[in-house]
Symmetry: C2
Subunit: 125 residues, 2 copies
DNA sequence: TGATCTGCTATCCTCCAGGATACCGCTATC
DNA sequence: GATAGCGGTATCCTGGAGGATAGCAGATCA
């Protein structure tokens, strides 16, 4: 099955890793911001529009947290008016791989769940 | 950067996938149950002991949800007393790949964050 | 001259995942 | 007969993520 089968230490290490990962990526919106930015959005209102249902308060918090985590940088471009853009850092690339995997898996899983409930209904009838 | 850069439709599809994935795997405990089971635990109290801090109520709920999602099966083994074991399904394998990736990324990320805060403190001094 | 863009911040509120604690019937061992 | 295992369930409660709504200062459009 897995390389950490019956290996308590590796198992615990994996748990800690997963806990840290969930802490960093979990929550309803953080990954959505990543996806929006991977899709080319890099200004506040642009990102806000790209993510259906997000409020500015929440987006603001996510952007700050993600900056602290090293996923993006807030860049002010002097001028009149001063513009603000958010740029993904090179480090965020490691996360974007996870995001794409997660997205692909999620789509497949959704289909799987739908198949299952279909079968369940067929069995009922 | 990414294959979905400047591709609104792919971007939206990825968002939906990620949303579905988060819905399925998010929460503090579900992945932990996966890891514990990958580590060989397959009975209720065994899993409970493998996961530091989980309460039986929460574990019970997680196991039910995961069964509904097709990740595991509850199997009663007749006898005296009747035993109950939880088995990962073949389908759960797709998830276990994600779990391992997530765990590995989480560990790396933790180190990264620690490096960053070190640098920050060094800069202060 | 007012409306509408930008990039946000401030308040107040709701809801529910998860925590704490207790307990159930059953078996087995001491 | 008491204590400890098993596999859970029942209640009550709290924190904090996130939702709703409003507003602000500056620029620009019409």
């Amino acid at each position: 099955m897995s390389e950490n089968e019956r290996n308590p230490e590796k198992c615990k290490a994996t748990m800690e890793g997963v806990r840290d990962a969930l802490y960093a990526i979990s929550g309803k919106w953080r990954m959505m911001v990543m996806v929006a930015m991977l899709g080319g959005a890099n200004r506040f209102n642009e990102i806000e529009r790209a993510i259906d249902g997000i409020t500015p308060k929440v987006l603001s918090k996510e952007l700050k947290d993600m900056e602290l985590n090293g996923f993006l940088q807030r860049v002010e471009i002097a001028g009149n008016p001063t513009q603000v853009i958010y740029e993904l850092t090179p480090y965020s690339k490691s996360l974007s791989e996870i995001v794409n995997l997660l997205g692909a898996w999620g789509s497949r899983h959704r289909k799987h769940v739908m198949e299952m409930s279909k079968e369940l209904n067929a069995a009922k009838a």
